[in-house]
Subunit: 331 residues, 2 copies
DNA sequence: TTGTAGGCGTTATCAA
DNA sequence: TTGATAACGCCTACAA
């Protein structure tokens, strides 16, 4: 196998305990001994076996991120925040994939099996009973996006996001404001429901009669193109579109609109959602609503850390991020 | 602490061995016993302690990805491939951050400390001596991007990429072809050097006298805008630009060019590099050279797996991915 | 089909 | 300042 602490101890003529102390730079070891031991460690390419250490300590020194999707811009930016924040904590980052709907089960396995000291579940739908159980067992679990009030979580104010979107568009004189969503694909996830409610509430408050929901199969490029087909096929097309389906669909729409002669924002105002890197790279500036994915990642990680460190108040802390309107050219 | 196999055994009135066998669905356990044990496991929310298992088995059942950057589109797409490929291997994915230049040291720590059974290092500059050592110790290490011939690695043919770019632009009648790069920031990384050589070789072969290298501080939006400043300030500006600095810079250039009245592709043809999601979402279609990041991720993971499984030939396998020209509107 | 015993590599406790 | 010993939770012989 590999080199063990025992072998190092033997070669250095000391006990394993001493080597262990040297590794943790304890002051209880003599200078001379320490030097000798370190030399041997260097020579032998010794690195402590992680499993041995963890087994003994009953921890895993790692944080898990559990999600059912990958190659996703939100996740990328969220993870950027997580990685930045975890850097000087000495903790490791572990990514776990879970079939959609299986995230709670996966978290249980991870936390009870000590694969990580805390878990962050992305867009996982967890019921209060389950969360109660995790809390009772003191297993730190942070929900991201689909939070449950009273349990640790990080969320975006989706209601305000849609509400502000409509209010802004209405303020610009738009009267027929449509929204794009994937209700079927993301059924049960809070952001669909919340954005829809925000949209409808705003229409009501602004005295706008027109309501049009464009149901999309997914939040991708193809769906963005699809939106244009839908709109071109309408008798009374909208004069504004809030892409609650995200910047990617908005960008694809912009591109397709240009190709097919629909003028943005003259014929139709387009407002994206996320302000991800995509919104920064469209040739025609995409107006959008910022969701601070990176800050959310940092917050989620810090919340997980608080939980680990025994901050009792954190067990019922939900952190909400507010939307921010970013105006460019498309609306 | 948590629930242990011993407690389960006691509650079920059997020995720990039996529980262990049940967990791995062994046929050596009677139906009745198995049922009883499983019920207790369920009831007690028992999950085997990972460290204990791994310590005993001398493995870690995990693959590590080591990199000095995050929130990066290439990495996102690469990781997408990795995650897809790792899914049914039963292995975990662990992400490690290493200061730029420290990747080899980190890999050593990871592999010798059994934090992972194999490591994939992104854009790490590793010397042959070090790699030799890892191979001798049979520590599976896969280099991605900056590979060393004769050692396991996955790479993109950067020379061909730049060569093809210039050839295509020249074929379109362009005569003053410029290239953008960040030589200082990415000093020592093969892709800078290779792309530069490909560019120069192609200019020579196409009998083009004009050579212009636009040095950028980074591969980001700001650098893209910077390119335009540079070009606008030239006495003899290029009529074509190959953004070896990537799609993001190209997209930012497109956007800025539109704002400042430079027409693409009439005044200047713009060719990106990567064909990442960014290239798909620019309003003006971005012509680019495709680097199959996702396929590279899959290949890297599979190579790591081969190494773990003892495929001797894999220890000197370098997998090279060829560039592919994607024509849209900008060039 | 089930049970007993030993050890994987580490660290914590206590003694020297 | 250093050393001996006993766990941590699991798995694998081997024994019953």
């Amino acid at each position: 196998m590999g080199v063990t602490i025992k072998q190092i101890a033997e070669l250095a003529g000391v006990a394993p305990t001493t080597v262990s102390l040297v590794l943790r730079d304890s002051k209880k070891v003599g200078q001379e001994t320490k030097r000798r031991v370190l030399r041997i460690i260097e020579e032998m390419d010794y690195y402590p076996n992680h499993s041995g250490k963890l087994l003994k300590q009953g921890r895993s020194d790692a944080i898990a991120v559990v999600s059912s999707y990958f190659q996703n811009i939100f996740k990328m930016e969220f993870m950027g925040g997580v990685e930045r924040a975890i850097r000087d904590s000495g903790l490791q980052l572990r990514q776990f994939y879970a079939e959609s709907g299986q995230e709670p089960a996966k978290c249980k396995e991870i936390l009870f099996g000590k694969m990580a000291d805390a878990a962050m579940a992305l867009s996982a739908i967890a019921d209060p009973g389950f969360l109660q159980k995790m809390r009772a067992a003191r297993k730190p679990l942070v929900l991201v996006e689909d939070v449950v009030e009273g349990f640790p979580g990080v969320r975006f104010d989706n209601y305000a996001c849609a509400y502000e979107a409509v209010r802004y568009l209405a303020g610009k004189g738009r009267r027929r404001i449509s929204i794009s969503l994937s209700m079927k694909t993301y059924m049960g996830h809070c952001f669909v429901d919340e954005r829809l409610r925000g949209y409808i509430a705003a229409l009501r408050d602004m005295d706008l009669a027109y309501t049009d929901i464009i149901e999309l199969p997914a939040y991708d490029l193809e769906s963005g193109r699809l939106m244009l087909d839908r709109i071109l096929g309408m008798k009374e097309p909208p004069d504004a579109l809030f892409c609650a389906s995200g910047d990617i669909t908005a960008a694809a729409f912009l591109k397709e609109a240009r190709l097919r002669g629909l003028r943005v924002p003259d014929d139709i105002a387009v407002l994206g959602c996320d302000d991800s890197i995509i919104a920064h790279t469209t040739t025609l500036g995409l107006s959008t609503i910022r969701q601070p994915a990176q800050a959310m990642g940092e917050a989620a990680l810090k919340l997980a850390l608080s939980l680990i460190e025994g901050d009792d108040e954190a067990w019922s802390r939900v952190i909400t991020f507010a939307p921010e309107l970013i105006i460019r050219e498309s609306a």
